[in-house]
């Protein structure tokens, strides 16, 4: 791990003078890690550069680019974070212009922790570490092998523990709607406790993550109830791949299947009023 850290530090040190800032992770008080914007002129901050635990940095990029659309930025991203940035670009949440991707390749123990199929970056031209192969996801495989009734029973049991913290939605860099369907009064009346079995919440979110989830597992990591949320997002992603030949983060030019784009004249040709 420390060799990768040294290499990453050196890479950022070289890039810093050419940009306005580099988004990475920094160790703070008591060894707690958080996203940080490293600035040229302050290379000493790189002494506290951190690798792990990973953080939802695509969202940090969005926050900074929203305030500074023309800033020249670089971002340290792992495979899932690169996929996150690419998908957010397709949905006009972040810009790839003036952005340097610094690909950080994950090591075996990180991939096993994440049950990750793609622990590597594919677009970043600057990379640190050597890419390794993906690992299986035993939880998702075990779930997929269950019968319909067992699957239902599994989620019913799991979702009983949900405290409706909205953490899985809040932390997800791919959840960025200005008005979130999950906050609709239909599901939770203001001033009332959420429904005892809030599985509708989870089904709605799973559907809304269609062709958006980048398998970063941030939702699962933040869940105080320990619900293995990535299982259903990954199975939705598997269906999207089979049905629409779409994989998040893979091809920058490929439009997500749920995005409807009209060419000049399409509307007239549709025959709609």
């Amino acid at each position: 791990m420390s060799e990768r850290l040294t290499a990453l530090r050196e890479t950022i040190r070289q890039i810093l003078p050419q940009v306005d800032g580099v988004i990475g992770l920094k160790t703070g008080p008591a060894g707690i890690v958080a996203p940080y914007l490293f600035k040229p002129g302050h290379p000493e901050m790189l002494d506290s550069l951190a690798l792990w635990p990973k953080e939802p940095v695509p969202d940090t990029l969005k926050i900074i680019q929203k305030a500074y659309p023309n800033a020249r930025l670089a971002i340290v991203c792992r495979g899932c974070e690169e996929r996150g940035v690419v998908e957010m670009f397709k949905h006009a949440q972040v810009s790839l212009e003036n952005l340097t991707l610094i690909g950080l390749q994950c090591v075996q123990e990180e991939a096993l922790f994440c049950r990750c199929a793609k622990p590597y970056t594919v677009h970043a031209r600057v990379t640190v570490g050597s890419p390794i192969a993906g690992v299986p996801d035993p939880l998702t495989e075990a779930f997929a092998a269950k019968s319909q009734a067992e699957k239902l029973a599994f989620w019913k049991e799991q979702f009983q523990h949900c405290i409706k913290c909205y953490g899985c939605r809040n932390i997800c860099p791919q959840c960025f709607c200005n008005v979130c369907a999950l906050e609709d009064e239909k599901w939770v009346e203001t001033g009332r406790l959420p429904l005892p079995n809030p599985s509708l919440y989870h089904i709605i979110r799973a559907m809304h993550m269609t062709a958006k989830c980048v398998a970063c597992r941030e939702c699962e990591e933040t869940c105080p109830a320990g619900i293995p949320l990535a299982i259903h997002f990954r199975l939705v992603a598997r269906d999207v791949k089979e049905m629409f030949h779409y994989e998040t983060g893979a091809v920058i030019e490929q439009k997500p299947p749920q995005l409807l784009t009209l060419e000049e004249g399409d509307y007239e040709r549709s025959g709609l009023p």
Binding site: D20, G21, I23, K26, G28, P29, A30, G31, I32, V33, A34, P35, Y36, L37, K39, P53, E55, P56, T60, I63, I64, A67, Y68, A71, I163, K164, C165, Y166, G167, N170, I171, E221, T222, C223, P224
Partner: protein, 135 residues
């Protein structure tokens, strides 16, 4: 252009979950959980996730209010604290220290709760100390 995170403790209950306040150019822009914190381990409840919301809320009191002629009017801290001291002293002189009780809060830090019981016992002279979490 500055972005950093400030590690702090959630102000909403006594559990003591850690959270990061995301700061962009000295403005509070959001909350992030603290993954490798021993207590909250990267999780938060809905209150912690919204712990930044009240900081700049328009309904938040920015100064003490003192009731004058049945109406709450803004006051300075010196004015408010002087009034409290005066009333507490008068009550204590009139009816004794046990006529006064002090309510601490599960939302305060240990240190703040320690200070308020110390204030009750050493300054006012009463053991009437309680707090909401005992309800």
């Amino acid at each position: 252009m500055e972005y950093h995170n400030v590690l702090t403790t959630c102000p909403y209950c006594g559990t003591g979950c850690a959270l990061h306040l995301q700061v962009l150019d000295h403005q509070l822009v959001g909350v992030l959980p603290a993954k490798n914190h021993p207590i909250s381990q990267g999780g938060l409840c809905i209150k912690g996730w919204n712990a930044h919301a009240f900081v700049n809320h328009k309904d938040r009191l920015q100064t003490p209010l003192v009731r004058k002629g049945g109406k709450l009017v803004t006051a300075t801290w010196d004015e408010a604290l002087a009034l409290i001291a005066e009333k507490l002293s008068a009550l204590k002189a009139e009816s004794g220290p046990d006529s006064i009780g002090v309510f601490a809060s599960a939302k305060c830090t240990n240190e703040e709760n320690y200070l308020i019981q110390k204030f009750a016992r050493a300054v006012i002279g009463t053991n009437n100390v309680d707090h909401c979490a005992r309800l």
